[in-house]
Every structure is written in structure tokens, then in C-alpha cells.
């Protein structure tokens, strides 16, 4: 176990260093913060609302922001290793593949977490202007972080299917968009026209939409957290299956 943790840490450290060794990290963080500001103040009418809440003006944009930014962060995870041949190097080290899969996921998730934490001025601003519910803000941040992790895990799996980062990016955006859409009101209404209710509910429950919303209004529920964790777990497991196929051929 000790060895496993050491391997995970070693690989994760390299991955995280990889982001900050190149301009990718800084470009990403700047774009993320700029877009957040734009959405919150311009499209979210933060000041005009006159409410000490971040749910509507700030967090409601995250599913859409992440839809493009998270695949951009995760697309290289395996595609680049496959393209450059380092996959062979990595997987002939004395490690189990799951250690590399988990390490890569954690490194990128921590990176997304850093970007998310850097939005803290909006919390300070709100605290200065009014008296927000900090517990709610915490749970909203937690929901946002879990959502980012979910998109990231999906992207990691897609990244393992190809040597081409652009293809990994596009497929990931489409799949993540699907995860949002299947809980979106107009789509579920369309389905309700022909499908039995139980099927509609099932599809709805697979969507990130309602689980994310649960964190935004009224605090987190265990089953919503469980949803995110299980999608992450499933995606990482699928990554290991995909990689086994890649090595075999």
C-alpha cells in the first residue's frame, strides 16, 4: 500500500509539474478567471440582483464553463502519452496501471481545484457587500469541484481512446454535453412524450444537472455526492479497460 501511494504521488507530481512547466496552466487559469468574471458580472447581473448569494450569478455558469475548459485540461492525459510513446515507458515501470490512472486524475483535479480556489475574490466581495450564507457557499464550491472532477474523469477516459488530443477534446465535450442534456427540461419533456416515466427518471438521474443543482440550492445530499463519485469511479475504471485494449494491439 505504501508503495502504491508513493507511485501515485510520484506520477501525480510529474503531471502537475507538467502543467506549470508550460504556459498551459497560466493561460488556462487566466481564461477561467476572466470568463468567470464576465459571466458573473455581465451575464449574471451580480450587482443588479442586490443579493448576497453566488448560486445564480456565479455557480450556475460552471456547468457550461467546465464543458469546454475541463476537456481542454484533460485531453492530453493519455493521448499525449500514446502519441509520444511514453505510454510504453510508463507502463513498463513497476507500477499497476490503476496507479497511473488515479495519479493523472488527481493531478488534473488538483489543478482545476487551484483554478477554482483562485475565484475567492468573489466570495470576499460578497462578504463585504452583504452577509452571505458561508455554509451554502462552501457546499456550492464543493458541488462545482465535484462537477469538474466528473467531466475530468470522462475526459481522461476519452483521452485514452485516441492518440489525438483534438479528437479527445471533441468527444469529451460531446459526452459531457450529453450528461448535461439528458437532465435538461426540454429534452426530458421531449422524452416523456413516448417513453415510460421510469425510463425518463432513469435518464434524468444520470444527468449532472439535477445533482449539481442539489448542491446549489439547499445544501449537498449524500446521494448527489455519491452520483459524482460513482461517475468518476466508473470513468476511471473504463480508462483502465481502454488502456488494456491499447496495450494489447
Amino acid at each position: 500500500m505504501n508503495d502504491s501511494l508513493r507511485h501515485v504521488r510520484t506520477i501525480a507530481k510529474r503531471e502537475l509539474g507538467g502543467y506549470f512547466n508550460s504556459p498551459v496552466a497560466y493561460v488556462f487559469i487566466v481564461i477561467f478567471l476572466l470568463l468567470n468574471g464576465f459571466f458573473t458580472f455581465k451575464l449574471g447581473y451580480y450587482f443588479e440582483r442586490g443579493q448576497a448569494s453566488l448560486a445564480e450569478p456565479f455557480f450556475s455558469w460552471h456547468p457550461w464553463l467546465y464543458l469546454f475548459l475541463v476537456p481542454a485540461v484533460g485531453m492530453r492525459l493519455w493521448a499525449e502519452e500514446r502519441r509520444s510513446g511514453t505510454l510504453e515507458l510508463l507502463l513498463t515501470m513497476p507500477i499497476e496501471p490503476w496507479q497511473a490512472i488515479l495519479a493523472k486524475f488527481l493531478a488534473s483535479w488538483i489543478f482545476l481545484g487551484i483554478a477554482l480556489v483562485l475565484t475567492f475574490p468573489i466570495v470576499i466581495t460578497t462578504g463585504y457587500l452583504g452577509s452571505p450564507d458561508y455554509k451554502a457557499i462552501f457546499s456550492q464550491y464543493l458541488g462545482s469541484f465535484l462537477l469538474a472532477g466528473t467531466y475530468l474523469a470522462v475526459t481522461e477516459m476519452m483521452s485514452a481512446t485516441t492518440r489525438n488530443q483534438i479528437i479527445a477534446f471533441i468527444i469529451s465535450v460531446v459526452v459531457c454535453f450529453g450528461l448535461i442534456l439528458c437532465g435538461w427540461e426540454p429534452v426530458t419533456k421531449l422524452m416523456a412524450g413516448w417513453a415510460p416515466e421510469s425510463l425518463v427518471d432513469l435518464v434524468k438521474s444520470l444527468s449532472t444537472w439535477h445533482h449539481y443543482a442539489a448542491f446549489q440550492n439547499g445544501g449537498p445530499f449524500l446521494r448527489d455526492a455519491l452520483y459524482f463519485v460513482s461517475v468518476i469511479g466508473f470513468s476511471l475504471f473504463s480508462t483502465s479497460v481502454v488502456l488494456r485494449g491499447v496495450r494489447g494491439s
Binding site: D3, R6, N21, S84, T86, R244
Partner: protein, 319 residues
């Protein structure tokens, strides 16, 4: 140390490696030869545990590379064919990372980096990032990575590819020296490399082993092994042929040449290499009073053997 039993790898219906078996002991340097696409890299990928075999078994130091992969991989240093490394890291950062992956910490890690950067001539570029390096340096960076934990087993896929002649020589010396107390398997398509540093060579073609022996044994399989070459001038070709054909130990005699020089090749009646045939030819030369500037016995050339084994239909016609 390495045991390969009935290894098969199929990609769809096509078998890239078809029933390959061999063993390598400590102290052996095994050269892996074959035309492009013969299955060399695929075999090496299965030995290192990267690629699972379709059937068959590989054990390293008694550990099955599939069942007990971590223990097996610990013993192995591997240089993949394209010598990959992470371009965004410095050479030192990359070596430090591989050392850590191999469980080397603290001073052991610093010593290991110093040792391999000396062995692979990387001292001057340790602080450079990999993507600024020339191909030769990148190649040696990846080689250094394979040596970092001083492994018992080295699997090197074309270790001298992309190096200049001096570097090639250094790497061959390195392989030869390390081979004394390790197991080294390396693939190449440069035949002089096999003669320079292998204690044994395997030739693989279309997924199967077609020859397995010491470089000398392989050379003895050459059609020209044991033949005597003679170059004389001032004598007609036909005369040379007639006189040499009368030598008791001689078989076929071929003659080629122009007005100035005649090149004769005398095949022995039986194939054992000895000085006997050359002596007999020399006596003919002396008694006829021919003036000559070359007379020697061929050991056989590996490239002839290689060609006649891997291209059985066309090679024999060339000479």
C-alpha cells in the same frame, strides 16, 4: 534469467510473433536480428510486460511477467524503440522521476543520476529540457533511464539508432561491458553490431526464430564460409581456374576479373574452416610463379547468412 516459452502474439488473424521460445542466462548478450516487421519489437514488448501475449509465457528471474508483473518489471530496464521521454522535463528532472518510480530516494537517487549521466555522456545537458536536445541526446537520455536502477535485465530496442559513429561505438562498448554480469537483449538491424558485442544472436523472420547461435556459428552457415579468395595478375582466368581445380581439397572454383586482375574463389570440398585449402592454393601460386596481392580464407559474412535466411528465394543468386 529470461525464459520465453511458445510466445504468440496475434493482431486479428495475423500472427506477429508465432511460437517463439528461447532462454537467456546471466552474462549473455543476446542480439535480436530480423528484417523490419519481423516481430522483434513485439517480442520485446511482451518480455517487458507492456503487451500481454496471446498465448505463451515469459518469466524474468522466475517471475511471470503477466501474473507477477511488478516483481518482474523491477528487474528490467527497458529502452523502447522510439526512445520516448517527456519533452517538458529537464534531463535531470526526467532521470530523477524515473529513479523515484524505481524506488530510489535521497542520496541513492542522486548517485544513480550521476552514474547514468556519466555512462551515457549526459553531464553537459542535465539542466536542458528534453525538447531542446538533438536526437542522439534524447536517445541517450532514454537509455540512461533504462540503466538508472542498475537492473539485472536490460531490454534495448535498437539502442544505437540515431547515434553518430563515435556514440555507436561507445554504446556498444557499454553494452559489452555491462553484459558481463547482466542479461542484455537488444535488437538491431546493424550486423556488425552483433559481431561487436553479442555472445549469441537470434534471427527472427515473420514472427518465428530462424536461427539461434553464436555469431561465429551463424557466420559458418554462410555459403562463402571456408572459401579461399585469391587475386592474381598477369595470368589468364581460364588458366587460374584449371590449375586451382586440380587442388585436392578444392570443390568448385569461380573466376572473375579483367585483363589486369583475376579474382578467384575456391570453395572447399567439405565445409570445415581450416588453413589447409589456403595452404594448398598458396603452393599452386608458388609453383606457377603467379604474382598475387590477396589470399585469404573467408569466415563467412553475417549479412550473407542474414539474407539467405530471411530472403530464401532471392539471396542465393547474389554473390
Amino acid at each position: 534469467m529470461i525464459t520465453v516459452e511458445n510466445l504468440v502474439k496475434k493482431f486479428g488473424p495475423k500472427a506477429a510473433v508465432n511460437d517463439v521460445s528461447f532462454t537467456v542466462q546471466r552474462g549473455e548478450v543476446l542480439g535480436f536480428l530480423g528484417p523490419n516487421g519481423a516481430g522483434k519489437s513485439t517480442t520485446m514488448r511482451m518480455i517487458t510486460g507492456y503487451m500481454p501475449p496471446t498465448s505463451g509465457r515469459v518469466t524474468i528471474g522466475g517471475h511471470d511477467v503477466v501474473e507477477d508483473s511488478i516483481a518482474a518489471k523491477r528487474l528490467v530496464g527497458y529502452l523502447p524503440e522510439s526512445a520516448p521521454s517527456y519533452p517538458d522535463m529537464t534531463v535531470e528532472g526526467f532521470l530523477s522521476w524515473t529513479a523515484e518510480m524505481r524506488g530510489l530516494m535521497g542520496n541513492a537517487r542522486i548517485d544513480a543520476i550521476r552514474r547514468v549521466s556519466g555512462l551515457c555522456f549526459l553531464d553537459g545537458v542535465l539542466q536542458q529540457s528534453v525538447d531542446t536536445l538533438s536526437k542522439g541526446y534524447r536517445h541517450r537520455t532514454c537509455l540512461a533511464q533504462a540503466l538508472i536502477h542498475d537492473p539485472d535485465v536490460l531490454i534495448l530496442d535498437e539502442p544505437t539508432d540515431g547515434l553518430d559513429p563515435n556514440q555507436k561505438h561507445e554504446v556498444r562498448q557499454l553494452i559489452k561491458n555491462m553484459g558481463k554480469n547482466k542479461v542484455i537483449v537488444f535488437s538491431t538491424h546493424i550486423l556488425e553490431e552483433v559481431e561487436a558485442c553479442c555472445s549469441r544472436a537470434i534471427i527472427i523472420d515473420r514472427g518465428q526464430i530462424v536461427a539461434n547461435g553464436t555469431p561465429d556459428e551463424l557466420k559458418a552457415r554462410s555459403d562463402f564460409s571456408g572459401t579461399v579468395t585469391l587475386r592474381v595478375h598477369g595470368v589468364a582466368g581460364e588458366t587460374v581456374r584449371t590449375k586451382l581445380s586440380n587442388v585436392a581439397a578444392a570443390g568448385k572454383v569461380t573466376v572473375a576479373g579483367d585483363a589486369a586482375y583475376v579474382n578467384a574463389r575456391v570453395f572447399p570440398r567439405n565445409r570445415a574452416i581450416s588453413g589447409e585449402l589456403a595452404n594448398a592454393v598458396a603452393r599452386v601460386v608458388a609453383s606457377e610463379g603467379w604474382s598475387f596481392d590477396e589470399l585469404h580464407t573467408e569466415e563467412g559474412r553475417l549479412d550473407d547468412v542474414f539474407r539467405s535466411i530471411t530472403m530464401p528465394d532471392t539471396a542465393k543468386s547474389g554473390a
